[in-house]
């Protein structure tokens, strides 16, 4: 504003002075917003009083009295609404984390495939991306839930994969790991391996800086990472006993029960988000100019090294910001779970709890602040990362 209007401020009339006008505008804007806020607040007070709803967060301690089909922490009907909040939050995070991992794997594969020298692979990847990014994610969820999982046979005639994984219209049951004899040894070995890897990395980098000699850090790290726990379990017994689901007369017992809602939402969201991640990855790799590859090659680096030391670090700088926003989208889209009744944050809290207690403002405020907190913290993290990684130009 000032940059443009500063020049010919005529003296005399205060209204023509850009400084004064700026103040005036701002005061008007603030007053308007405050007035609207007061208007809404006043209405809400009146409406609440009229309907006889008490505001406040006291209801969180009341017993919830409804069952939840999937809870990662102990939960029973006599637990409080506060407990329901944590169950919902964990379920939302579960979908987000599994979805992000799957979407990343599929998406990176797609992105690399779109740049493949192989024509057929390129076309397949393009078709996948063009199909799935132009379909609403909710439709995909419905499709997987109602058209793929629902028509499956009932528990008694479950489809089985090698007799250890059972799939039917009520659940997917997989072998579940239970702590075995060498459980603690296994984890300790893993931690030890990680420490060793970090130390090795430091040492190798210091040596490379000092002498220029490379060290096969990756392979040795891999050997450490796999070897330590393996040695541990060899000496002290296996870390896990696998509880394999068993087909009984009417249903399947044991194992890890995954509800179909979780399967459909995770599958649909990762298929959908992967299409976008694929495009992000492709754009990122293409942003590294060909000269970089040639320069690296002329320095005598082998193709694998060119990719690892020159292309990928530069491409990641372009890829990571949009990638995080895709992750954020996936986390926000996980709220679509409400449409098929997966017990996530929205369907539990903004759905069931709201209906039972009538505390619309409180439940919505809690739900929205959770998502706001997630997205604000991720974008802060992103800004920090961007600053750290930004090219330092002369």
């Amino acid at each position: 504003m000032r940059t443009i209007a500063k020049s010919g401020a005529a003296r005399g009339s205060l209204l023509r002075d850009p400084q004064a006008r700026a103040w005036l505008f701002q005061i008007i804007a603030v007053i308007t917003v405050v007035a609207i806020g007061w208007f809404l607040f006043h209405n809400t007070q009146a409406n609440l009083a009229h309907r006889g709803i008490n505001s406040g967060f006291g209801f969180l301690d009341n017993a919830a009295g409804f069952g939840i089909s999937q809870h990662l922490i102990d939960y029973s009907e006599s637990d409080s609404y506060g407990r329901v909040f944590w169950v919902g939050l964990l379920n939302t995070l579960l979908v987000s984390v599994i979805g992000i991992i799957l979407a990343t794997i599929i998406g990176f594969t797609l992105g690399v495939a779109r740049l493949s020298p192989n024509w057929l692979i390129r076309q397949i990847s393009t078709v996948y991306i063009e199909i799935f990014r132009n379909i609403p994610p909710l439709l995909l969820i419905f499709f997987v839930y109602f058209a793929v999982l629902s028509p499956l046979p009932g528990p008694r005639n479950s489809l089985s994969l090698w007799d250890i994984i059972f799939i039917n219209n009520r659940s997917v049951q997989m072998p579940a790991p239970r702590a075995g004899e060498g459980f603690w040894v296994f984890w300790m070995a893993l931690v030890l391996a990680l420490i060793a890897i970090v130390l090795l990395n430091r040492w190798a980098r210091a040596r490379r800086h000092a002498t220029g000699r490379p060290f096969p850090v990756f392979w040795i790290s891999l050997v450490l990472f796999v070897g330590f726990p393996w040695l541990g379990s060899l000496l002290f017994g296996g870390p896990f006993l696998w509880e394999i689901p068993e087909l009984q007369r009417f249903n399947i017992r044991g194992g890890w029960v995954v509800i179909p809602e979780l399967v459909s939402i995770v599958l649909a969201l990762s298929i959908y988000t992967a299409a976008f991640i694929g495009e992000t990855v492709r754009a990122g790799i293409q942003s590294v100019s060909h000269g970089q590859t040639e320069a690296a090659a002329s320095l005598g680096l082998r193709p694998g090294r060119v990719l690892r030391l020159v292309i990928v670090p530069q491409a990641l700088r372009v890829i990571i910001p949009p990638l995080t926003s895709q992750y954020l989208n996936l986390a926000k889209n996980s709220s679509l779970a409400a449409a098929i009744g997966y017990p996530d944050m929205v369907s539990l809290f903004a759905g069931t709890v709201l209906n039972q207690t009538g505390q619309a403002i409180e439940t919505m405020a809690i739900t929205m602040s959770v998502y706001l907190a997630i997205s604000i913290s991720i974008s802060l993290l992103m800004n920090w990362y961007n600053k750290r990684i930004a090219l330092i130009e002369r």
């Binding site: 000032r2 443009i4 209405n43 990014r133 132009n134 379909i135 439709l139 709201l354 403002i361 997205s375």
Partner: protein, 365 residues
């Protein structure tokens, strides 16, 4: 004296030209590539023939009821008999001509805008944008000038989806531009207000926003003010999308070189005139792909109104598949829905690419 005569060029080796050459370069250049090609072919063979078999060859196309389908392939009879419901929802059958009329008016009215050489194109466009919404409201909702009222609770199907998307973009675009200008303003109060607004709406999922429209808005508004469900949802969609549009437009504003602002000021233009005449035309042109992408996202997001019980396209299909007379038709229903959504979204993305190319005047840096 003999002059040196060039021999005619030999043709390129047959292995490097034509079909064979193309195959060698693109599909079988190395053993890894050959392996990938074979894997790709296997994948296609696994997926495509069964789909064609199901959707076309073994499908049933004509009939009246579920019994007319052999169930060996797709039963498109379902889509056929329910087609009008998918399109209009519960809009009274004898009044559906009004929806058709509104749609034709939209298409015919907008058609001249696509001819680049039409005289008074801008003026016509502005008039169209101002008049059409009123006309469409009159046709769809009615209630005056002799048309019977059709309450919004009876609207549905693809028509509702398009109405929400169109109202959403028409409202979100101006609001988003204002927010973007506000975010880049020199006045701290305005900036803070705009940033807060934008970040709030971008931080929450649309589902919670729609929930809010159905449970919180009635609390916020005075009791005598009774907005119906659709209006509340639209209001929220406009706010939600405006925040996204604002970020897109901000990108364009930031890309305009400082000299443009200074030149506009040097011409003696005030803030609004320099924005409208100089900055925004350039900035908006630059962000057309972003705006269209936001619009595509909005079009897909309209499907979420299912959560507050509106009968948009997806919801009418979901309802139809749970009809006892047509059980087991989920696949057909959702495939049809996917096809329709896909056509709209893909068409828009292609159009945006085309627009980007024709509007590119080479000023992009």
């Amino acid at each position: 004296m003999t002059t040196h005569a060039f021999k005619p060029d030999l043709p390129a080796p047959s292995r490097s030209i034509g079909v064979v050459g193309w195959l060698r370069v693109n599909l079988f250049s190395s053993w890894l590539n050959t392996l990938l090609t074979l894997m790709g072919l296997y994948l296609i063979w696994l997926i495509v023939p069964p789909i064609i078999d199901w959707a076309i060859i073994k499908a049933d196309w004509s009939g009246e009821s579920r019994d007319d389908c052999s169930r060996e392939g797709a039963c498109w009879v379902f889509v056929q008999t329910r087609f009008s419901q998918f399109m209009y929802g519960f809009y009274p059958a004898e009044l559906r001509w009004r929806v058709d009329a509104a749609a034709w008016l939209a298409v015919l009215g907008a058609a001249p805008l696509f001819f680049r050489r039409m005289p008074h194109r801008v003026r016509y466009g502005i008039a169209y944008l101002l008049l059409y919404p009123l006309l469409a409201y009159w046709l769809l909702h009615g209630g005056f000038f002799g048309l019977e009222t059709v309450p919004t609770s009876r609207w549905g199907g693809l028509m509702l989806t398009i109405v929400i998307a169109a109202v959403g973009i028409a409202g979100a675009l101006p609001l988003g531009i204002l927010l973007a200008l506000g975010r880049r303003s020199d006045m701290p109060a305005i900036r803070v207000l705009c940033v807060t607004f934008i970040e709030f709406w971008r931080g929450v999922p649309l589902i919670t926003v729609l929930f809010m429209s159905s449970v919180m808005l009635p609390l916020f508004l005075p009791e005598q003010m009774n907005l119906d469900k659709l209006m509340r949802a639209m209001l929220m969609v406009i706010f939600f999308e405006a925040a996204y549009i604002a970020e897109v437009v901000r990108g364009g504003l930031q890309a305009i070189p400082r000299g443009q602002y200074e030149a506009a000021a040097a011409m003696g233009l005030g803030y609004w005139r320099s924005m409208i005449l100089v900055i925004l035309p350039q900035a908006l042109k630059m962000v057309i792909p972003g705006i269209v992408n936001t619009f595509i996202a909005l079009f897909k997001d309209t499907s979420l109104v299912i959560i507050i019980g509106l009968f948009d396209f997806l919801n009418s299909i979901k309802r139809a598949t749970s009809d006892p007379a047509w059980l087991g038709m989920s696949t057909e229903g959702y495939v049809f829905a996917a096809l329709v959504y896909w056509m709209f979204c893909f068409g828009m993305s292609r159009y945006s690419i085309h627009l980007e190319r024709t509007l590119d005047t080479g000023h992009r840096t």
